[in-house]
Subunit: 329 residues, 2 copies
DNA sequence: CTGAAAGCGCTTACAG
DNA sequence: CTGAAAGCGCTTACAG
């Protein structure tokens, strides 16, 4: 900046004003300054600005390491969309994989202790203890894809309840009356919330809930187990996620059944398993774009106004109609 | 820092030295200062340090948008590993999705023009024109997973050639003599390099190359096409990637063949398709960890010493032995 | 072992 | 419309 000023015989203050399109510089001079800046390959030093206004223009996105396995790309996709949206605000995203070690030892993330970010999005459920650590960070923060009833921290989550409710309604519209739910409802809150949506749909349509039709899909540690099919089979299965729906389809097919002729199967997520299944699955698409958009808007609001509260925001999914459901009416 | 200094009646210089474990402060005082800093919730201001030493302690990772489709998570995984490795160096990773628009208009990325990073890793092939733009950036830079013969920029790539060579050798060791290669060798340089590894293996073993056994899998725009099986079938197929191997297995199975009894099939990448295939695929694992580790080491070297050149570095994969190959001897 | 001074690149408030 | 001065939080080189 100083070099540009010297070259044109003006002060660096004037250069600063011109480059930022502020008042107090003649249009003529502004143009000249910008031209010279371009020619000299001037690059703005964002660190100097940061030190002035105390803003880093970065947002940290923290993902617990255990959610980043070989075949789990959901959170990475969300992060990607967040990065794209942050760009619209002139911000950047810094990815922070929270190691199990840091989570256990309740360490603050380095992005925080080094003042690298103006806000932080926690993407994926962290342990109860760590939530307290998060609460102690004096920074705008946001839970994404989970919430904690005890922590007074805004969160953005998929509307699991409503999505499962809608897709169960759809099955009923198609004439199904005996509908099973597949998932361990004590495993995660999203599996449980999806179950409750399924349950509400049954209630509303006057269908009785049959405990025999609640099928377990994983043990308490989250490892998939073989699904125990009920003695009296339903005509349709609401699965808590596409991967389980995929597994179920494979299972039923290997037993000689056809889908959707013999049984209808629906999933949740609209991930890769929905299109790999044969036939492709009717499912509830989790709206990653919208989640990222909402999350970025929310955290930027908080950066501008630290007292801003948005509470729990639900992002609705969309039913994707494919070929795994049979109309029986 | 000043607050801490005031509280203890020392100067901020002393506080700085103590917090950085530098010489010139008594151990006693150091301990006291660190204690007070902790109590006061002191957070280091990295922007101030940045402005002093001209380093941002960030590395930009740029991924062209077209490589980030719904079912493509490979580059995101690489980015994730890069972020983890950067952490060891006290650095952070800033993800930059390069939009088609920016790529066409040859715009510098904002991470560059705002001096947000000390180096940049370009992850995934960018257009010829844009490579020139990259070359014009006065910053350490590195191509990851591709290279350009005209650009004098260091690159790190998977050893496609050697991986395909090794896995073809393995098929030959298992007794196969008629071996097909599946892939459009004019589509990407990795498909071509993998083909050449296959070809070398044939040559070394005195097997003749039969053009009829080069099977196309995609059109010039990269869209998968139905694979045209040859009249005289081989006993094994080397596929250019796991997804194509998966498709081929489905195809052969639907034609009534069994794998590996009737035909052996191998893939490349060791991605999700390798484990989804039935039977699971023997394949070449691309070593994401090692690529990320090497890339981070290389870019950090360059940050420390801008003249450092590493040339083209090949990262070898590992053969993963599963159940899609039959021993015929 | 400790600290006063200067400087990194920018912006803001104020004076001319 | 233009610019001199001060300051953001830190570190380095130097003096005591």
């Amino acid at each position: 900046m100083k070099d540009i000023a010297d070259k044109l015989g003006v002060s660096s203050v004037t250069v600063s004003k011109a480059l930022n399109d502020k008042e107090g510089v003649s249009d003529n001079l502004k143009i000249k300054i910008k031209k010279v800046a371009g020619e000299m390959g001037y690059r703005f030093n964002s660190a100097a600005k940061s030190i002035k206004d105390g803003l880093s223009y970065n947002i940290g996105v923290m993902i617990p390491h255990r959610f980043t396995g070989v075949n789990e790309s959901f959170y990475l996709r969300v992060y990607q969309e967040i990065a794209i949206h942050l760009d619209h605000y002139g911000y950047f995203g810094i990815l922070n994989i929270l190691s199990n070690e840091d989570e256990e030892q309740l360490n603050f993330p380095r992005v925080y202790s080094e003042n690298k970010v103006d806000g932080i999005i926690i993407l994926g459920q962290v342990g109860k203890k760590y939530i307290e650590t998060v609460q102690n960070m004096e920074l705008p923060k946001l839970f994404l894809d989970f919430y904690d009833e005890h922590a007074d921290i805004d969160s953005i989550i998929t509307d699991n309840f409503y999505g499962a409710y809608e897709i169960t309604n759809y099955l009923i519209q198609c004439g199904h009356r005996e509908i099973a739910y597949v998932g361990n409802i004590y495993s995660t809150s999203s599996i449980q919330d999806r179950f409750l949506g399924y349950y509400k749909s049954l209630l509303e349509h006057g269908l009785s809930y049959d405990e025999q039709l609640l099928l377990n899909d994983r043990d308490e540690r989250g490892t998939y187990i073989d699904i125990q099919l009920p003695e009296k089979m339903p005509t349709a299965f609401v699965c808590n996620c596409d991967q389980v729906a995929y597994n179920l389809c494979e299972r039923l097919t290997s037993l000689g059944y056809s889908i959707p002729q013999d049984f209808s199967v629906v999933g949740f997520d609209n991930d890769i398993y929905a299109t790999l299944a044969n036939p492709q699955l009717t499912t509830v698409e989790v709206d990653i774009q919208e989640m990222a958009r909402t999350a970025v808007k929310s955290i930027m609001d908080k950066v501008a106004n630290p007292n801003r509260r948005n509470g729990r925001v639900l992002v609705q999914g969309n039913i994707i109609y494919r070929d795994s459901v049979r109309k029986t009416n």
